[in-house]
Symmetry: D2
Subunit: 345 residues, 4 copies
C-alpha cells in the first residue's frame, strides 16, 4: 500500500493521541510529525504510555511543522482559526477535529460559540466528516471537519427517524452520559481524582454546543434539547432520547428506518435483544471500538419512543470517525485500521 | 428516652440491612429480632460486615417472630401480601418498605404490578411515608408504606413545581441514573462484577413501576415519563427532569416554589451554586445521608426547565425516609439517628 | 456537656476537612474557626459540600486565628515548623496532624524528611497520638502528634506480634494499597481523573517516610520494609505484611497476642472468618469508620505469617484517631463522635 | 496466508472468549467451532457482546466437536483430564489453557491441586507455553500448556534475576493485585456487584496454586511466597516482588540482566522512568494488550530490590501468550494478531 504522510497538530491531547494511536496501526499512513508546545522534545510515549515501544516519534513545536499529505488538527476550539491560512497550507487534505468548521450556518456558530465566525465564507468549503451522513461528499473533500462526540451519538441515533418522518413534531429530549476524558488532558481542581471519582456532575443542563451540530444536520431542523451529565467513566457516551412516534407507525417501522439507513454501515449496529446481559447499547461494550450501537424501546400505549445509543467518545466520537472519513477520502477500505472489536468483560 | 422495640422482617437484604444499621444507632429503638430465612442462626454481621462489633443479634426464621412495638417489613414485593394478617398483628406500628401498599388507586397498582391488588379495601388505610408530603398524616398513622427510591427522587423534585402551578401541561421526561444496590442482594449473572462494572445498562426505558407513585402523588396526575439507567455506582440516584415553565414565570418563581415547599425541611437542600465543584446535586455528596439535594437550570430562551435531584437510594430513598417517618410518628425529633453528613471526598 | 472550643488550621484540605466533619458532630466540641488562605471568606461547604446545611462557618485567613481550647493543625508537612511558637500559643491543647512531631529520634527525622529537625529538643514533649499504644500518655498530653495513616495501619497490625515476641528476627515486608485522597486536595496532572482512574501506581517502592514511625514504635526497632501502591480507591488502606513465626508458636498464640493487645479496644476488630464474603479486613467495610480491622493467615508448613489490616486513611488513619486521642485527653468517652458503623453495601 | 482451522472448547468463559476474540482477528486462523454446554445453539455474541457483527458462529455442545488443526481447551481445571484421550485426538496441535498440564513435577501438582495427577507420564510431553522461556521447545510442540496469569506476571519478572544469579538466597515475597475476571464467568454471591465493587479481598494470603509454576520454572527452585489480593479492577495484574540483591551487584547489573533476557522480546517492555505519570508498570497501560511491563527499584542502603510487573490477565496472562506460542509453533510472525497497543487514557 502506498503510504501517505500525516502530521498531527496538538498530539499531546486525548483526541490527538487517539488519532496518533490509530494512525500508527494503519497500513496506509506514515506519521511524520506530532506537535506539542509543552512537550516538544519528549518522546510521545512520555505522554501516551500505551505507545511505548510502538514509535520513536518525539513531539515537535508547532513552528517546525512541515507539509504532509494529510494534516490532522487536534487543537482546542478556536486555535485553528488563529492560524488558519498557515495550517491550511501544510496539508493536501486537512482534517480538523475541533468545532471550528463543523457548522454551515454562521448564526448557529455565533449562538453557541459566543462570537461571530471569523471566516464565515469558508464554512461551506468544509465537509462534516460523518460517513453515515455524508459519505459521497467526503470522497472528494480536502477539508474535513470531525463531528462532536455527543453530536455523533445523538445525530446517528435520531437521523433515520427524522429522515423517515416517523416522529411527532414535538421537542426531542436527549440525555447524554459522558466521560471524564471528554474534558481533555488539562488537569485542574474539577478533574482531581478524589473529587471526580464517584461524582455524577450535571455538566450542561442546557445550552450544550453540540446542539448546533445536531439540529443543523437533522432534516427540518427539529427542536432537540440536550442535557449532558458527566459520570466518572473515563471513556464512553450513553445517549437516550425521548420522542413520540406519529400515529400509525409501529416498532416495525422503526426497525425498517434503521435498517434502511444503516443496513450497509460497517460501524453501526442495531442492538435490541430479548435476552442476554447487554440487550441495549452500552458504552462498556463499544469501549475502544469505532462502533456506534443503537437501540430503541417503544411504549405501546403512549407512542413514546426511547432511542438509545452508545459509542466511545474518543474513537467513533472523535478520532475513529475521522479516520473512517479519511479512509473514504483516500479510497481505502473504510474499516482499515479500525477493526478493534472491544473487550469482554 | 423510652425505647420502643422494633423487629425487622427480611433483614438480610439491602433495605432491611440499612434499616437495621440506622435502628442500631437510634436512641429510641431497640432491635429485638431480625428475620432471614436463609441466614437463620447466623450473626447479622456475617451478611452485613459493617455491623461487626455493633450488635450480637442473629437472624431468626420468620416463624419465630414475636410482637414488637414496631414491625418493619423489608420483603420482596408481594411477600407481605401473602401473610398480610399475620404480620399486621405483630406490630402496633407497621412500616412496609415494599411496594405493596404505596398506592391508593387499585387500577394503578394493577397496571404497574400486573395483577389486581388482593386487598384493595386496605389501601386507604396506609399512609405513604414521605414526610415532606404527608407529615401530618404520618403523625397518627399505624400503617406506613415507604416510598420507592426513584419515586422519592422524582416526586420531591417535581412536587413544588406542580403545587405552584409553574409548569406547562406537557409531558415531563425523567431520566434516573440508578445503582446496582437497587437490584437487591440476590446475586446472578446480571450482577456478576466483571459484566456489571463499567456497564451503563438501560434498565427500564419505559414502564417503570415507580411511575405510578409519582403520578398519583403529584397534583393533577400529570403525564410523567420515567427512564431508568443502571450505572455501576453501588448507591445513589441522580434524577434529571425535563419540563417547560409557563410563560410569565421566571427562575425567581422556581426558587420561591422550592423555598415555600422545603424552607423548613431538615433533609431537603436546594443546590444551585455559581462556583465550586459541586454546583448541582450529586449522588457522591449525599451518599450515606438522608438528604435529598434538589437543583434546577432554566434555559431562558425556551423556557425549558431542567430539574435535578440526588439522594442515596438506600437511605433517603428507602430506610432513611422510613425512619424519618417513624420519628414523626413516635413524636421524636425528626432527625434522630439520621444526622450523618456524608463524606468529602 | 461542657463544650471546648476548637480551631482548625488548614481546614480546606482532606485531613482538616475530615476533622471538621467529625468535630461538627461531636457534642463536646465547638468549632470556632477554620483557616484557609486560599478560600478565606468562603463558606466551608464550598470546599466540603457534605457540610452544606451543617454549619455556617466560613474560612478565615490564618492571620485571624484566635486562641482556642484546642488547636488542630492540618497543614502540609513542615508548615507548622515555620510558625511553631505562634501556633503553640494559640491552643491549650495542640493536636498536629502533620509529620512534624511524630518522631522522637531526630536522626530518623533527618533520614526520612531530608533535613535536620529544627526543634529537636521539642520532640520529646510531643505524644504520638495512637491510643492503642500510648493511651496513658495521651491522658495528660498537651501536645499530640497524629500518626501517619500508613504507619497506623502497619503499626497496629504488627505491634502485638512484636510485643509478644512471636516473630523471627527477619525483615518484615509490608505492602500498602493506598488511595488517591492520601495525596491531598491539591490537583495536578498526576491526579487528573482520566489518568488516575484505573491506574495502580507504585508510589513508593522503597523509602516511604512512614517507615520511620513504624520502626520507632515497634519493640526492638525491627527491620520493616514498606512498599506503597496507590490504587484508585478514594479512601482506604489495605496493608499486608509478610513475616515468619518463631518455631513453637502457633495460630493460637497469634490469636492470643491480638486478644491481649486489643481485647478491650473499642476500634480494633480481629477479622478472620471461615465463611461469609468478608473473611479478612477489607477497606470497603471500614470506609468512613474509625475501625481498624486486623486479620492474619498462617502457612503451616513454612511458618509464614501474613498479617492483614484495613482502615480508612482519613478517619482511623488521620482525623479519627486524632479525635479519639482528644476524647481520651479530655476525659470524654473514647468513642464519642466516632460511632459511624460504615456501610453495606 | 494458509489458514489453519481452530476449535475452542469452553468458549463461553473469559479465557475461551478472549482466545476467540483474538483468533477471529488473526489472519492465519479460521475458527470452525466453539463449544459451550450451557449456551449451545446461541450466537457467541449473546455471551460475548463485543463479537456482535464480527462472527455468526454459534456455540455447539462439546459432543459435536470435530477435528481441527488446532484445538484450544479453555475448560475449568480438571475437566480436560476427564476426557483426555478424546480431546487429544481432535487437534493436531492441542493448546490447553487450564492448569492440567502446566507442571512437570507430579509431586508439585499433587501438593497444589490436592490429588495425584492422573497421567503423570504425560506431563513431560507438554511444553509450558511461555515464549520468553521456552521459545525453542514451542516451535515443535504439539501439546502446549498455557501458563497461569499470576505465574506469568511473577515468572517473567523474576526469571532474569535468578538466571543472572543476582539475588541473595532468601525468600522472595510476591504480592499480586488481581482482578475480578480472574475468578471466571460464573456468577455467585462473591462476585455480586454491590458486594464486590470497592472491595479489596485478600483472596489467597498463602498457598496460591501458581506458586508451583513459578518455583518449577525458576533456576534453582527458589523459595517464593505469593499473596494474591483481588481488587475490583475487571482485568489486570500488578505484581510486586521483594528480594535482596547480592553484595557487589548494582542497579546497572539489574538493567543488564533484563536487557539480556528480554532485549529482543516483542512483548516485554522494561519500564523505569524518571519522569511522566506512568514511571513503573501499571495494569491500566497494558489493558487489552499482550505486553508485560517490568520495572524495578533498588534501595541502595539495604540492597532491597522491588520488582514490579503488570499485564492483562486475559491477554498476556492467558489467551495472548497462548496465541503468541501458537504463532511460534506455526511459523507465523510472533506478533500476528497481537498488536493492539492499549489505550490512553
Amino acid at each position: 500500500m502506498d503510504r501517505k504522510t500525516v502530521a498531527i497538530v496538538g498530539g499531546s491531547g486525548y483526541a490527538g493521541g487517539e488519532f496518533l494511536r490509530l494512525a500508527l496501526g494503519h497500513p496506509g499512513l506514515e506519521v511524520t510529525q506530532v506537535t506539542s508546545r509543552r512537550f516538544a522534545g519528549e518522546f510521545v510515549h512520555l505522554v501516551h504510555p500505551n505507545l511505548r515501544g510502538r514509535t520513536s516519534l518525539k513531539f515537535i513545536p508547532p513552528e517546525k511543522l512541515e507539509p504532509a499529505d494529510i494534516l490532522v488538527l487536534a487543537l482546542p476550539h478556536g486555535a485553528f482559526l488563529e492560524e488558519y491560512e498557515r495550517y491550511l497550507g501544510l496539508g493536501k487534505v486537512v482534517l480538523d477535529l475541533s468545532a471550528d468548521f463543523r457548522l454551515k450556518d454562521p448564526a448557529l456558530y455565533e449562538k453557541y460559540y459566543g462570537r461571530p465566525h471569523p471566516f464565515p465564507e469558508e464554512l461551506p468549503r468544509w465537509v462534516y466528516a460523518v460517513p453515515e451522513l455524508y459519505r459521497e461528499r467526503i470522497r472528494t473533500a480536502d477539508r474535513l471537519a470531525g463531528a462532536g462526540c455527543n453530536a455523533t451519538a445523538t445525530l446517528l441515533a435520531l437521523y433515520p427517524l427524522f429522515r423517515a418522518g416517523l416522529l411527532q413534531p414535538r421537542p426531542v429530549f436527549v440525555t447524554l452520559l459522558i466521560s471524564t476524558s471528554a474534558a481533555g488532558r488539562e488537569a485542574g481542581p474539577a478533574s482531581h481524582h478524589p473529587e471526580r471519582a464517584g461524582s455524577y456532575r450535571v455538566y450542561k443542563a442546557t445550552g450544550h454546543r453540540h446542539t448546533a451540530e445536531v439540529v443543523e444536520n437533522l432534516p427540518g431542523r427539529p427542536e432537540v434539547h440536550l442535557t449532558a451529565i458527566a459520570t466518572d467513566r473515563v471513556r464512553g457516551i450513553l445517549m437516550t432520547a425521548q420522542a413520540f412516534l406519529l400515529d400509525g407507525w409501529s416498532e416495525r417501522d422503526v426497525w425498517q428506518a434503521y435498517r434502511e439507513a444503516y443496513g450497509q454501515e460497517p460501524f453501526v449496529r442495531i442492538v435490541k435483544q430479548k435476552k442476554g446481559l447487554f440487550r441495549y447499547p452500552d458504552p462498556k461494550v463499544v469501549e475502544g471500538t469505532n462502533y456506534i450501537d443503537i437501540g430503541f424501546e417503544l411504549e405501546a400505549d403512549t407512542g413514546r419512543l426511547v432511542v438509545i445509543s452508545a459509542l466511545d467518545n474518543l474513537v467513533k466520537g472523535t478520532a475513529g470517525h475521522a479516520l473512517q472519513a479519511l479512509n473514504i477520502r483516500m479510497g481505502w477500505p473504510e474499516t482499515l485500521g479500525l477493526d478493534f472489536p472491544g473487550f469482554h468483560p
